[in-house]
């Protein structure tokens, strides 16, 4: 089946080594609101390399979901988007709708959060899972259904034929999350953007889902995980980018970032984990409508410097090749 994928971006023709699948540069997303423009994402530069599993972590409202949506071109029409998201020969931000539609689901797929509401309540599971195959004309409708049943079986449904004829509300949250994963995986996309796939699931189910994702994301398939769940990120990802108030504040190999966080925010995040003694970061993240002039974390930072207040730090490379946005590492 992978042969049938012409690959709009012609990705497969290129070399496999350290090729960047997606290159986000200077991404800014601004929403207009009653209290003025809201800079949800501010100058994000991030490269997603082919075959890697990258995690974007941060607290709610830090702009990580917006970044993910920008990749898929699913931002609301009232959003002002500046920057570039290069995918093969295309800029995903300026590509025509038809092209985007051909890429979505087929080459870049999404596992959305809220398994409860992300499935169409009046459509049978089988139809929903098979739909991407059908619309991308990958195979005929009966084939698509067979494929859907196969992937449902693969994802741990005991009786996939029967499950395919049922409706979303008849399944538990964990099962529904699996269905969403099935929808994302069914076209065998290059990149999977998983937006909080474990939100709202209990510990056991979460573990199972994570395991499932690891088993499914293999080979040259790329995972872009958006989460605030550090555990999930450390379990799934090779590389982690930390977002704070619309900016990436730290980026590096997962192990390094988690074991030796550079940025005070990352340190705070890790310290706030239950396993680390549950020490929450004091204060609140700034409102995206009125961001401070200097470092955006400076009000909450335990190690604040004088210049943090008025100068804005840049994302810099450390000697070890990691990236961090903090004057401590200048």
């Amino acid at each position: 089946m992978s042969e049938t994928k012409g690959g709009v971006a012609g990705v497969q023709e290129q070399t496999r080594s350290v090729r960047e699948l997606i290159c986000i540069s200077g991404l800014k997303v601004i929403f207009s609101s009653r209290s003025g423009p809201v800079r949800a994402v501010d100058s994000v530069d991030l490269a997603i390399r082919e075959g890697e599993r990258i995690g974007l972590i941060g607290e709610s409202g830090s702009g990580k979901t917006v970044t993910g949506m920008a990749i898929l071109g699913l931002l609301p029409v009232n959003a002002v988007i500046i920057g570039k998201i290069r995918y093969g020969d295309y800029d995903l931000l300026t590509a025509p709708d038809r092209t985007l539609q051909q890429i979505r689901g087929n080459e870049i797929a999404m596992i959305s959060q809220n398994s409860g509401s992300s499935l169409n309540p009046v459509m049978k599971i089988g139809d929903q899972v098979a739909e991407p195959l059908v619309i991308h004309r990958i195979c005929s409708v009966p084939d698509a259904h067979r494929e859907a049943i196969r992937i449902l079986a693969e994802l741990g449904f005991d009786d996939p034929e029967q499950a395919a004829t049922r409706y979303p509300h008849e399944f538990s949250g964990g099962m529904r999350e699996r269905i969403l994963i099935a929808i994302a995986l069914v076209c065998r996309p290059h990149l999977i953007v998983a937006d909080e796939p474990t939100a709202g699931l209990d510990a056991q189910v979460r573990a199972r889902i994570l395991k499932l994702i690891t088993s499914q994301i293999s080979g040259n398939r790329t995972l872009f995980l958006i989460t605030h769940d550090l555990g999930a990120a450390s379990y799934l990802c090779d590389r982690i980018a930390v977002m704070y108030a619309g900016e990436i504040v730290e980026c590096g190999p997962a192990k390094d970032v988690l074991s030796l966080p550079l940025h005070p925010y990352t340190q705070g995040l890790i310290a706030s984990l239950p396993s680390a003694g549950l020490h929450p970061i004091p204060g609140m993240s700034p409102s995206p409508a009125s961001l401070p002039r200097g470092c955006r974390f400076c009000e909450r930072c335990p190690a604040v410097l004088d210049r943090c207040d008025c100068d804005h730090p840049e994302l810099v490379f450390t000697e070890s090749g990691r990236q961090v946005r903090c004057f401590h590492y200048d």
């Binding site: 699913l74 979505r104 797929a109 509401s117 008849e170």
Partner: protein
């Protein structure tokens, strides 16, 4: 597809509802001040002999205690005997159906077209909500809706029937009916203007509901999921959004259908269309209790029927209701 138990439960419920309506209607009307005798008979003559009045009361069982009248009435209704009109002496049921039939000539096409047009434009408008076209359509619809029905009707009669003479002034057939019998196109010619007006009205009501419903739906996560699958907008609208947006529509629309039986009283008045609305006003002026009760019953029946249909329809569309897992 729909479980028999669910259907049975709904049916029982409808039956109970009907009995309650019947009871309320009966007591309400019988406890009203004023009656046919004083309103109609006495208007003919100031000196109506007492025997005549007594005779009349006896004939219609008005001399019995109210509870006994009620029991008799209940029995009669359940046997399909809806009583006789005071003023006309005719069986209420046949009178009502004679008029209802003509009301339906207006109502059926207007309702079908109205729902269709309203839903389609509403879905489109909701889908495009925030855009210029939506804004324009939305305002036009509000304007149509806000202007009272009878005002539209008066204006339409003046312009299209009187000045332009495109349509007849009113009634259901032209005089040729006497020589050639009812002609489909002739009746259509008479019915077209009222039907168009009613369609307008029903459509605007549905438009508004559908638009809101659609706006609610397009904010749902599964629409994002559908986009993420790479579906084009048209497919998302028709395959994913529409069916979900139709769910709340079903209930509201069926209720509207039940309401417009009486709602077209204005149109009937202006267009001299002697349908059920006209019959109602006649029954009211005459204080023709059996006829009024019949009209009430008919309306209750239609509403109850509509509710039943709404339940069944929405359970057919929405699997959550069908399985009884909806909260």
């Amino acid at each position: 597809m729909i479980s028999g138990k669910y259907l049975l439960q709904r049916l029982c419920y409808s039956g109970a509802s009907f009995i309650v309506c019947l009871t309320i209607t009966f007591f309400l009307l019988h406890l009203m001040p004023g009656d046919y005798i004083s309103n109609y008979l006495l208007s003919l003559s100031n000196t109506l002999p007492k025997e005549i009045v007594d005779q009349f009361r006896e004939q219609f069982g008005l001399n019995l205690p109210l509870t006994q009248q009620y029991v008799l009435y209940l029995g009669n209704i359940l046997h399909g005997q809806w009583g006789y009109s005071y003023a006309y002496g005719q069986p209420v049921l046949s009178m009502i159906f004679g008029k209802l039939c003509w009301s339906l000539v207006l109502l059926v096409p207007a309702t079908i077209l109205g729902i269709l047009i309203g839903t389609v434009i509403g879905a489109w408008s909701g889908w495009k909500s925030g855009g210029k076209k939506d804004f324009a359509v939305f305002n036009v619809m509000i304007v149509i809706r806000a202007i009272p029905e009878f005002w539209w009707a008066i204006m339409a009669v003046m312009i299209f029937a009187f000045y332009l003479q495109w349509f007849p002034l009113g009634g259901y057939a032209s005089i040729s009916v006497l020589s050639t019998g009812l002609d489909f196109f002739d009746v259509l010619h008479h019915a077209l203007l009222p039907i168009i007006l009613m369609t307008f009205f029903i459509a605007t009501g549905n438009y508004y509901v559908m638009r809101n419903s659609m706006i609610a739906v397009i904010g749902e996560d599964y629409i994002t999921t559908a986009r993420a699958k790479g579906l084009d907008e048209r497919t998302i609208l028709w395959r994913h959004a529409l069916k979900n947006a139709l769910l709340p529509m079903v209930t509201i629309t069926t209720f509207q259908c039940a309401g417009i039986i009486m709602g077209n009283i204005f149109i009937e008045t202006v267009f001299s269309w002697p349908g059920i609305g006209y019959l109602t006003t006649q029954a009211l002026t005459n204080r023709d209790l059996p006829l009024l009760e019949g009209i009430f019953l008919l309306d209750s029946l239609i509403t109850i029927g509509a509710m039943l249909v709404a339940d069944i329809l929405s359970s057919a569309i929405d699997p959550r209701i069908r399985m009884g897992t909806d909260e």
